[in-house]
């Protein structure tokens, strides 16, 4: 199932939370929408689900215009931030709810829900109420509930939002496996770049209601194109070109593309050495006062002067789109 958004705007009180946005997601693709909070990601999901009316534009699912279709007739799955489990229903009836809505009788729905819960490692939870579950258990119940009616578009809104790190990595892998096996088109919303890169086949970065960059994780990482995207996805050396002798308003250079070399063209002062992931990240200051990070197998003393060379092929020019 493919998705096509054509100049979609969504108004929230006086502002456009989504502003004239175009987006195409291919059938079966794992697509991640990332951006800072308030950038309009959740609103966009709600609009695709039919929960927010569009100010302008159209939403097409599988080539069919669904812009005016109410949410219950779109057959899309949306897993809500903080899950929105039905507090008055048991776990099994939460999961069975969507099955009942596609016409299954109560007993069949419960049998299937129970089987799905077992698959998700939630044996024995059938009769529990949501308020007796842990955060991780709720997350899995919400995921199973979303997937139970087998929607061909699965939308996940910050699905790992409030969980602890170990749990997040586990559940992320699980979710990726499940949606890949189902072959469902998946639209995953997060503000966390690690999650985004780990999950996405393709991703888009949103800012103030617009998409500012789209591509595979590799493409976006390799060439962020703007300072906002570069900083948001975690590039550590976003500098003015002048800092390392480039004729560009802004550039980004990977720490690995900087090498210590006594003959090097750039003079630096070592500020500090930080141990991370088995090696050292050296924070250094260049002549114009900007700071950059350089990979090193050994720590270097603060205050030392040194020189580096730049692998110019690894440098990417950036358009400045933030102050």
């Amino acid at each position: 199932m493919s998705i096509r958004l054509d100049s979609v705007s969504v108004r929230y009180e006086d502002d456009l939370a989504v502003n004239d946005l175009d987006l195409t997601i291919n059938s079966g693709e794992r697509f991640v929408l990332m951006g800072p909070s308030g950038s309009g990601k959740s609103t966009l999901l709600r609009a695709v689900a039919g929960l927010e009316p569009l100010e302008t534009g159209t939403v097409e699912i599988d080539g069919k215009d669904v812009t005016t279709l109410p949410p219950h007739r779109r057959a899309v799955g949306l897993m809500f931030q903080e899950y929105a489990l039905f507090p008055h229903l048991s776990v099994i009836d939460n999961v069975g709810y969507g099955l009942r809505m596609i016409g299954m009788d109560r007993n069949t729905a419960r049998r299937k829900a129970s089987a799905l819960l077992d698959l998700a490692g939630l044996q024995g939870f059938d009769a529990r109420k949501p308020d007796s579950l842990s955060g991780g258990e709720r997350q899995r119940v919400a995921l199973v509930r979303t997937l139970a009616p087998e929607p061909s578009l699965v939308m996940l809104d910050e699905p790992l939002g409030s969980l602890d790190l170990a749990l997040r990595e586990d559940l992320l892998t699980q979710m990726r496996t499940i949606v890949t096996e189902l072959g469902a088109t998946t639209l995953y919303v997060t503000h966390d770049r690690t999650e985004a890169f780990a999950f996405a086949e393709r991703l888009a970065i949103m800012r103030q209601g617009r998409i500012v960059r789209t591509g595979t994780p590799e493409q976006v990482w390799d060439d962020p194109q703007t300072t906002f995207v570069a900083r948001f996805i975690g590039h550590s050396n976003v500098l003015t070109g002048a800092a390392i002798g480039f004729d560009a308003p802004s550039i980004t250079v990977p720490p690995g593309a900087l090498t210590f070399n006594d003959e090097g063209e750039i003079g630096i002062h070592i500020v500090e050495s930080v141990f991370a992931d088995g090696r050292y990240e050296i924070v250094a200051e260049v002549a114009n006062g900007e700071r950059l990070r350089i990979d090193s197998p050994v720590p270097l003393d603060s205050g030392l002067s040194d020189r580096i060379t730049v692998d110019r092929k690894a440098v990417r020019e950036l358009a400045v789109d933030e102050v």
């Binding site: 009180e13 689900a49 509930r145």
Partner: protein, 555 residues
């Protein structure tokens, strides 16, 4: 294991009060209710059921076989049932609009819903008579019909449903409904399978209140039923004043109390069995969207304004209709010039001052006693809470007349309080306590225990935790409770009429005295004073609402 039992026991051991504190919290409201409610009611009962100092159940037999009284009992239940269903249905759309949306003048409209609730029954009865009484505006005399009684009860109790259901609805996360929609439920199915079940506890509790008010309604049935239909409450009054059969009246009062006890017990059980904990204090509200949503909200609010506004509008118009005919302010001038017109002069300015004094005293006493009772219900074990709940709710089922009469009969021991004016706010407090408890208990019970633990870990002592967490979270509920207590006191008539002195009239007493005088001038003055009471109450509600909201924002 049922997780609720578990969380409840944790709640007890970790409640901010401890065993001794819990004892005090239960003891204070208990003693208050024992002395000011149970003791007077028991005195009436004993006085009625003894003949020449010895016990006699013959009266009970007489009552149970009297066809007139049986018909009254049957009518009491039927009209209460129909009134409840109609009130809930009619007020439900407005509750939805208040819970989910922002719209212009929302605060003022919310305050306005309370106005009918606080008007003296006799005045609202008169207003309805101007619509559908003999020579009424619609041209058909509907007095003595079930229809008119039901409409008047719906008018009266509208606020209970709008405020009660609305406040609870605000706490339901709208995303729960959104989730149902994306899982394939139509908006109607979502309402039927998600919204309605989630609202069930509050629909049950507000229905119980409306049912009880209709069940024990006095002024409306007396005036609009025209004695063609009577209820148990009216019969208690008639047996007392017309036939001087205190024994029969007492027996009826006891039977009514038993009925109320059964209703409240069943309702309490139902409420506990379906209570759901919410994570959010309140869900965000927003402007309604163009199209269907805006039309629905507009319709809900318009229906509210028509239902609540029409009788009040007629009341106002009538107040500006001069006794001699034509429009003017003669009725208001008569409030000051009244000694020239009637001997039953009461100074309206005095009455207004007295009513304010009493209302503020009631507010203070009712919040302390009712707040402690709500805390007791929340922190005590389930078994204790269940019994205590019934005890606290019982004054609701007791007519105000019974309470006032009971004060006069009983409160000469151990010291003679019968001439003390403090009895007026105390009587009002008895009427208000069930409201205070009903509005604050669900809020207290909804506080997740981990919030208290979080506060404790952040270094808050148990009392500071209570002050900064529990109290702050229930503040909106306390504001609603305070508004109710104040409003009830302003409009209370039945009990006050038994215990006040002629030198200390309240506004409703003054209105009643004017109404009981023959002639167009006193009636017009009564209507004018009713309008003044309506304005005072509306403004008071608005002020309490505003101050309360600000206070709850300052931690």
């Amino acid at each position: 294991m049922d997780p609720r039992v578990d969380s409840n026991s944790t709640l007890l051991t970790a409640s901010p009060v401890g065993r001794i504190g819990l004892g005090v919290i239960i003891a204070v409201p208990s003693l208050f209710l024992l002395y000011f409610f149970a003791y007077p009611v028991a005195s009436i009962t004993i006085r009625g059921l003894t003949t020449d100092g010895s016990f006699s159940l013959a009266v009970v037999g007489d009552v149970m076989t009297d066809p007139v009284l049986l018909a009254a009992a049957r009518f009491t239940v039927i009209q209460a049932l129909i009134s409840t269903i109609v009130t809930v249905l009619v007020a439900f759309p407005a509750a939805w609009a208040f819970a989910r949306f922002d719209f212009p003048a929302k605060r003022a409209l919310r305050a306005a819903t309370l106005v009918p609730f606080v008007l003296p029954t006799l005045v609202v009865g008169s207003a309805f008579l101007t619509v559908a009484g003999p020579n009424g505006a619609i041209g058909t005399d509907l007095t003595g019909t079930l229809f008119l009684i039901v409409v008047a009860h719906a008018f009266y109790n509208y606020a209970i449903v709008v405020r009660g259901v609305g406040a609870y609805w605000e706490r339901i996360d709208p995303r729960t409904e959104d989730a149902a929609r994306t899982l394939g439920a139509s908006s109607f199915t979502t309402f039927r399978t998600i919204t309605l079940p989630l609202l069930r506890p509050v629909i049950a509790s507000t229905s119980a209140l409306v049912f009880l008010f209709s069940f024990t309604s006095f002024g409306v049935v007396l005036l609009l039923g025209d004695l063609k239909h009577t209820t148990i409450e009216v019969e208690i009054w008639r047996q007392t004043t017309a036939f001087l059969r205190l024994d029969v009246a007492s027996t009826l009062a006891v039977l009514q109390l038993i009925g109320v006890g059964v209703i409240l017990a069943g309702y309490g059980w139902f409420q506990r069995s379906t209570a759901v904990q919410f994570e959010h204090a309140t869900a965000p509200t927003r402007l309604p969207r163009k199209g269907k949503e805006r039309i629905a909200v507009t319709l809900a609010l318009t229906s509210m304004l028509v239902i609540l506004g029409t009788p009040l509008l007629l009341l106002v118009i009538r107040s500006f209709t001069n006794p001699a005919g034509g429009a003017g302010i003669a009725n208001y001038q008569n409030l000051i010039r009244l000694p020239e017109i009637t001997a039953a002069f009461v100074n309206p300015v005095d009455a207004i001052r007295n009513s304010f004094t009493v209302a503020f005293m009631t507010l203070a006493i009712a919040l302390v006693i009712g707040g402690l009772a709500a805390a007791a219900l929340t922190y005590a074990s389930r078994r204790v809470a269940r019994g205590f709940d019934l005890f606290v709710m019982l004054p609701l089922g007791t007519s105000a007349v019974t309470i006032g009469f009971g004060f006069l009969v009983a409160l000469s021991w151990p010291i003679d309080l019968r001439t003390s004016l403090i009895l007026i706010p105390i009587a009002h407090t008895l009427v208000a306590i069930p409201f205070v408890v009903r509005t604050t208990t669900p809020a207290l019970g909804s506080i997740r225990h981990n919030l208290r633990e979080a506060a404790a870990v952040l270094g808050a002592s148990p009392w500071r935790t209570w002050w900064t967490i529990d109290l702050k979270i229930v503040t909106p509920a306390i504001i609603v409770a305070a508004a109710f207590a104040f409003a009830i006191s302003m409009g209370e008539f039945g009990a006050t009429s038994f215990i006040t002195r002629p030198s200390f009239p309240t506004i409703p007493i003054a209105i009643f005295k004017l109404l009981s005088k023959p002639g167009a001038a006193p009636f017009g003055a009564a209507i004018a004073l009713s309008v003044i009471l309506m304005v005072i109450t509306g403004v008071s509600m608005f002020v309490i609402d505003t101050i309360g909201t600000r206070a709850s924002n300052e931690l």
